[in-house]
């Protein structure tokens, strides 16, 4: 699949934003490390919402006809893309209610209820983002429950690293934030490792024989029938050398999970100060962006069977 930059930026930014917001609610509820002040909570919440909004806006850049984008909310009953949009739109006012109840000292039940609902909606929205890809039977590498699990884990991992940065800047006791980050980042790393292991085996995928129905003998492509590229070759023809993919996977683990893990130790040992927390957050986001690029680059759509692939 062609890795579109706008979609990569959208999924990474909105995932981190939704993750940050839900973890901010947890940090507020349990007053982790002494608890953020009102202003700090509101600033963090607005930053998380900013990430989500920027992500959503950038996702409209890959539309060829954005004037009809508003119609994307209309097929909630069948389309995961539509569901994602609707959930993200419901998230916004709820998140604002939560932040307002923090700012204006609203009664505890309102603050807790709106915060909890916002966190749940954030979770559901990121799950829907993953399901956009996981529901496609045409792409073996995407059609697995590990995809929404990876989206959630990575979104929350980058959110937790951003939250840790906030805790360091606010001068809170960082121990609970380090523990939370360490746990979520390791879960994300393990889930990603399982995913990479899983997509290595071809499984029961369509072949050139079932694609053409010519199952009595071997089949090979003689000619694609077009002179130059088509929409199909541009959109689905992206190829990534296996060696390069392996190197990138290693980089995902080193930059996306290894460096943040090391930085967590530094922050815990009071080394490096704010810089260590900044490096952790930036590396986490960069790793997530690389992972997302690979997620697209490695996906092989079955239409490639009509362009010469023997199996997908």
């Amino acid at each position: 699949m062609h890795p579109a930059f706008s979609v990569i930026f959208f999924t990474v930014a909105s995932g981190a934003g939704f993750g940050l917001f839900s973890l901010l609610f947890i940090a507020d509820t349990f007053k982790l490390g002494g608890g953020f002040s009102q202003d700090q909570l509101v600033a963090g919440g607005l930053m998380a919402m900013g990430l989500v909004v920027f992500g959503l806006l950038s996702s409209t850049f890959h539309l060829a006809n954005p004037k009809n984008a508003w119609r994307a909310f209309s097929r909630f009953r069948t389309s995961w893309l539509s569901r994602e949009g609707v959930f993200a739109m419901v998230f916004m006012p709820l998140a604002l209610i939560y932040l307002a109840s923090i700012m204006f000292d609203a009664p505890g039940w309102l603050r807790e209820t709106s915060g909890f609902l916002t966190a749940v909606l954030a979770w559901i929205t990121v799950f829907s983002t993953g399901m956009i890809y996981a529901c496609l039977k045409t792409i073996r590498q995407w059609n697995t429950p590990l995809v929404p699990a990876n989206y959630l884990a990575l979104g929350y991992a980058s959110g937790s690293l951003l939250l840790l940065l906030g805790a360091v800047i606010a001068g809170l006791d960082t121990t609970p934030y380090i523990a939370m980050s360490a746990l979520i980042v390791s879960i994300a790393a393990v889930l990603k490792a399982i995913y990479y292991f899983w997509i290595r085996s071809p499984g029961l995928s369509p072949t050139i024989n079932t694609a053409t129905g010519l199952t009595r003998a071997g089949v090979k492509l003689l000619d694609t029938g077009h002179t130059h590229g088509t929409f199909l070759t541009q959109e689905f023809g992206f190829k990534l050398a296996r060696k390069k993919a392996g190197l990138l996977k290693l980089l995902v683990f080193v930059i996306g999970f290894g460096v943040p893990g090391l930085m967590l130790v530094w922050v815990f040992n009071q080394q490096g100060g704010q810089l260590a927390a900044v490096v952790a957050a930036v590396a986490g986001l960069a790793g997530a962006a690389m992972e997302r690029w690979l997620f697209f680059a490695e996906a092989r759509h079955v239409v490639n069977l009509y362009h010469g692939a023997q199996r997908c």
Partner: protein, 231 residues
């Protein structure tokens, strides 16, 4: 009604006339235009509803070239319709034709991802997804003579490799020929239930290619003598 095409792989000669006729009709049809990019340039490309690929089956001497026209299969379980977030993609209840409402499409490409057959192509000039309409603006046209109320590709095929009809009617020509020739849909394991059916190439008698007798000493001397004489 469940309208669709039958494509006879035994008969198709791979001339691309169906694709040309399709482009000709639909460029000015209800979904048109079908934009071309650099049609006379170095990298010609464009939107087509119908594409013909060429495959080779088996090894020499049993090999056979299979010309393989593909357009929208108008699937019974069309995921391209399910995943569409705007409602632009729809399947008509009355005849099963899958269409894209050009006024609603936002050009997100998601339906093309859901289609295993590569039937959907984005038109860069309009920013909308386009696909085979089964010539819906032809097959119901009362102003045309009855025998011309068929998709453009079917009418033009010089080899009569394409048929159009109703698969819900067990006595229709398409239903009968699929029954008799063992017609099949593509990639059945994905459960899209494609309406279009392909007729497999008939089995041909195997041609013996090594019929020459092995020879022996007598034959070798004869051949040697023949070569000498020719000199």
């Amino acid at each position: 009604m469940r309208l669709g095409l039958v494509i006879d792989l035994d008969v198709c000669v791979g001339c691309h006339a169906c694709a040309i006729a399709c482009k000709e009709w639909n460029a000015s049809g209800t979904i048109g235009p079908l934009s071309d990019y650099q049609p006379y340039g170095a990298e010609p490309s464009g939107v087509w509803f119908n594409r013909i690929r060429h495959f080779e089956m088996d090894e020499y001497p049993n090999n056979k070239t299979i010309n393989f026209p593909m357009s929208c299969n108008h699937c019974e379980d069309a995921d391209c319709v399910t995943v569409c977030p705007t409602g632009a993609s729809y399947k008509r209840a009355e005849d099963g034709i899958v269409l894209v409402d050009q006024d609603k499409c936002m050009g997100c490409n998601y339906c093309s991802w859901a289609c295993p057959y590569g039937a959907r192509e984005l038109d860069r000039s309009s920013g909308t997804m386009k696909k085979c309409t089964l010539c819906v603006d032809r097959i119901y046209d009362q102003n045309l003579p009855v025998e011309e109320r068929q998709p453009s590709c079917v009418l033009t095929c010089p080899a009569h490799a394409r048929m159009f009809g109703d698969f819900d009617d067990p006595d229709s020509a398409v239903s009968r020929v699929v029954r008799e020739r063992g017609g099949y849909g593509l990639m059945p394991e994905l459960n899209y239930n494609p309406t279009n059916q392909y007729l497999p190439p008939r089995r041909k008698p195997v041609i013996e290619i090594d019929t020459q007798p092995k020879g022996g000493l007598k034959e070798s001397i004869k051949q040697f003598a023949n070569r000498l004489v020719r000199r």
